[in-house]
């Protein structure tokens, strides 16, 4: 789950990081009143779950109240990479003497939390990683001891030889690690971490991605989910406990297992079609789950055919077939349905399907080809 900058800043504040004050506005009037309270100049920053907000014109410096009116008016309602801006963060504009990038993520190769730090702050770190990889310092943190003082300081001094500033950078890294653990994050970034002309270090931007698997132990984070940012079908899927990603094709896919679901989408494309979605229905033959999945997929008007691809394995295929038949009988479905079932009792399953309007298929390739032939008919 991804959260907004202002929400990430709250988590950073709780971990002891210095973060400038600020408030959230959904109207120009609210933005103005926040700006008056904070004192001009301010920054007006769009709050959307997308990168590149500044480049898109979604982050503006405001010297006067008129600036606030103009920029907040422009930014609210603006589209940034398909996300509509509904709120802006109003925060004091800082004077920037130096800026740095500080980030942490879970590193698959070392199986540790990896600290990444760079003196190339304030720019897209992905770009730095490609163009100037040596400008990013890395340190894999031992989970038993955390980020030790000397480790943080060694990185900090390479970022900035000034000891006073290096100490602040090291402290920020340790607090970032604290925030990372406290939130069960998968990614946490401060970009940039700045020094003002008075030499005060501050996190003026914040990004946190949360580990979905750990949300169960953070009940309070449910309130951080921005339902406006979620595709309605993806929200329905999440509530039905189905793993779903909306795509823009016309072949609705219901598959058991994430790897097979991806391979099915790939195969649809291989035969010249376009998948409408990724959906992992899991190992269950429960008709309710199938009904939920079908509702989500059929909510997409582009879908012209439904393709079930189930590799039964231990699950009995006749059970799965009964579940699919029961589900389809409970709904009015106007598009053709192709069902591929393989595994235990697949012959019985095919007999059950033969008595219905569902189109059976023995292999994945056959199922995809049949689905494409039926699409739009």
């Amino acid at each position: 789950m991804n959260i907004h900058e202002y929400q990430a800043k709250d988590i950073f504040r709780d971990a002891g990081l210095t973060v400038p004050p600020g408030g959230i506005a959904t109207t120009v009037e609210e933005a103005l009143s926040l700006a008056r309270g904070l004192g001009l100049p301010v920054m007006v920053k769009s709050q959307v779950l997308a990168g590149g907000r500044g480049k898109a014109g979604g982050v503006k410096f405001c010297k006067t109240e008129d600036d606030v009116r103009t920029h907040a008016g422009n930014i609210l309602g603006m589209d940034i990479k398909g996300h509509t801006v509904r709120k802006v963060l109003v925060t004091p504009a800082e004077t920037i003497a130096a800026e740095f990038y500080l980030g942490m993520l879970v590193d698959r190769a070392s199986r540790r939390v990896l600290l990444m730090a760079s003196a190339e702050g304030g720019v897209e770190i992905e770009k730095v990683a490609v163009e100037k990889p040596e400008a990013i310092l890395k340190h894999a943190i031992d989970p038993r001891f955390g980020l030790l003082d000397h480790e943080a300081m060694a990185v900090a001094l390479r970022l900035d030889p000034d000891v006073k500033r290096a100490r602040q950078l090291a402290d920020a890294m340790q607090k970032l690690y604290k925030a990372f653990l406290a939130a069960d994050a998968s990614l946490a970034e401060i970009n940039p971490f700045i020094f003002t002309d008075q030499g005060v270090g501050k996190a003026i931007d914040a990004k946190i991605n949360l580990d979905d698997n750990a949300l169960f132990r953070h009940p309070g984070y449910a309130a951080l989910r921005d339902l406006d940012e979620e595709n309605p079908s993806e929200r329905m899927a999440r509530e039905a406990d189905l793993s779903f990603v909306k795509l823009d094709g016309n072949v609705g896919c219901l598959v058991n297992g994430a790897g097979l679901a991806m391979a099915t989408m790939d195969l649809v494309q291989y035969y010249g079609g376009r998948p409408a979605n990724f959906l992992d229905i899991g190992g269950s033959s429960n008709p309710d789950k199938v009904v939920n999945a079908l509702r989500i997929i059929l909510g997409d008007p582009n879908v012209e055919v439904i393709l079930f691809n189930i590799f039964g394995g231990i699950t009995r295929c006749d059970d799965v077939a009964r579940g699919i038949i029961a589900a389809t009988e409970r709904m009015e479905i106007k598009v053709p349905i192709v069902v591929r079932l393989t595994g235990t009792n697949e012959a019985e399953a095919r007999e059950l399907l033969a008595k219905t309007d569902l189109v059976g298929a023995a292999t994945m390739d056959e199922a995809v080809q049949k689905a494409l032939a039926l699409a739009g008919k």
Partner: protein, 292 residues
């Protein structure tokens, strides 16, 4: 000989009386797996299926039966705890089937396992099966495997079954079919598995099923190129996955433009590993390059 365990390896199951644990324990027993104990706190003294003794703790189970390996079927909130317990009790092989384990829990477990020389498979994986040894540590269907010379490594479950099934139908049995799991932080990764297969004289050919996210396949390609002489073929799932979206598996995500199927295919092919366009092409591709 297959990898990681033989028919003699003594295996215990943590969570043996739970819904998933009991279902899969029966299947493992039915296959002939050498299950010597089960563990469920509060159920010590009971017997599972009339023959497997159940203990309150892994330590008790190991003391009474000499169990060397554990297969874990406990809910996500307790999964890391179960791995710690198995390692502490002296199990040298731990297979964690549980899906949905918090990533930082696994980060915490890793040095504990390394210090004790414990191999972890998973979490969020189907485990593995050694058909020639009648040993199944996990949830793979037994009816689609057969003993033979092919090793298989995969990050997925049902997609693996698809390819294993095709291998078996083509008369190509397997030494070990291993699902390493779809999470970002896993115990045994592609490299570790490759090293194990490399050391197994019975494995004469290898299939690698990868997917988007991370660069494990790229690292594996380098290892294969530098070390392995047996034929290796691959398939990568997720060519059509949009960037920034998690495709079911926690680790299956293209982020910051890296971890794409195209990158992986390129790395594998430049290491001399053919990559199939469809799951159905994996077996023909292997037969093509395998001069027996």
């Amino acid at each position: 000989m297959a990898i990681f365990c033989t028919r003699e390896t003594k295996i215990l199951i943590q969570g043996i009386t739970g819904r998933d644990g009991s279902f899969h324990a029966k299947s493992m027993l039915g296959y002939g797996t050498n299950i010597v104990a089960g563990v469920t706190p509060g159920r010590g003294g009971q017997t599972f299926e009339g023959k497997v003794p159940v203990f309150d703790t892994v330590k008790d189970a190991v003391a009474a039966t000499g169990a060397e390996a554990s297969v874990i079927f406990v809910p996500p909130s307790g999964a890391a705890g179960a791995v710690f317990e198995a390692a502490d009790a002296g199990c040298k092989l731990v297979v964690c089937i549980t899906e949905g384990v918090p990533t930082l829990d696994m980060v915490k477990v890793m040095p504990y396992l390394a210090e004790r020389g414990v191999r972890l498979v998973g979490p969020n994986c189907p485990g593995f099966i050694n058909p020639g040894q009648k040993a199944k540590l996990g949830i793979m269907p037994t009816n689609i495997v057969a003993p033979g010379p092919v090793g298989l490594i995969s990050r997925s479950g049902t997609l693996t079954y698809e390819v294993v099934d095709a291998l078996t139908r083509a008369g190509l049995g397997q030494t070990t079919c291993l699902g390493i799991g779809g999470d970002p932080v896993i115990g045994t990764n592609f490299m570790d598995a490759l090293q194990a297969f490399h050391a197994d004289p019975e494995t004469q050919a290898l299939v690698m099923i990868g997917e988007i996210g991370g660069d494990a396949e790229e690292r594996a390609a380098d290892f294969v190129k530098a070390n392995m002489k047996i034929p290796v073929v691959s398939f990568i799932a997720g060519r059509t996955a949009p960037p920034g979206k998690r495709m079911g598996h926690a680790g299956a995500i293209v982020s910051g433009g890296s971890g794409t199927a195209a990158e992986k295919k390129k790395a594998l092919e430049s290491a001399g590993i053919p990559v199939a366009d469809r799951p159905a092409d994996v077996v023909p591709l292997l037969q093509q390059i395998w001069k027996r």
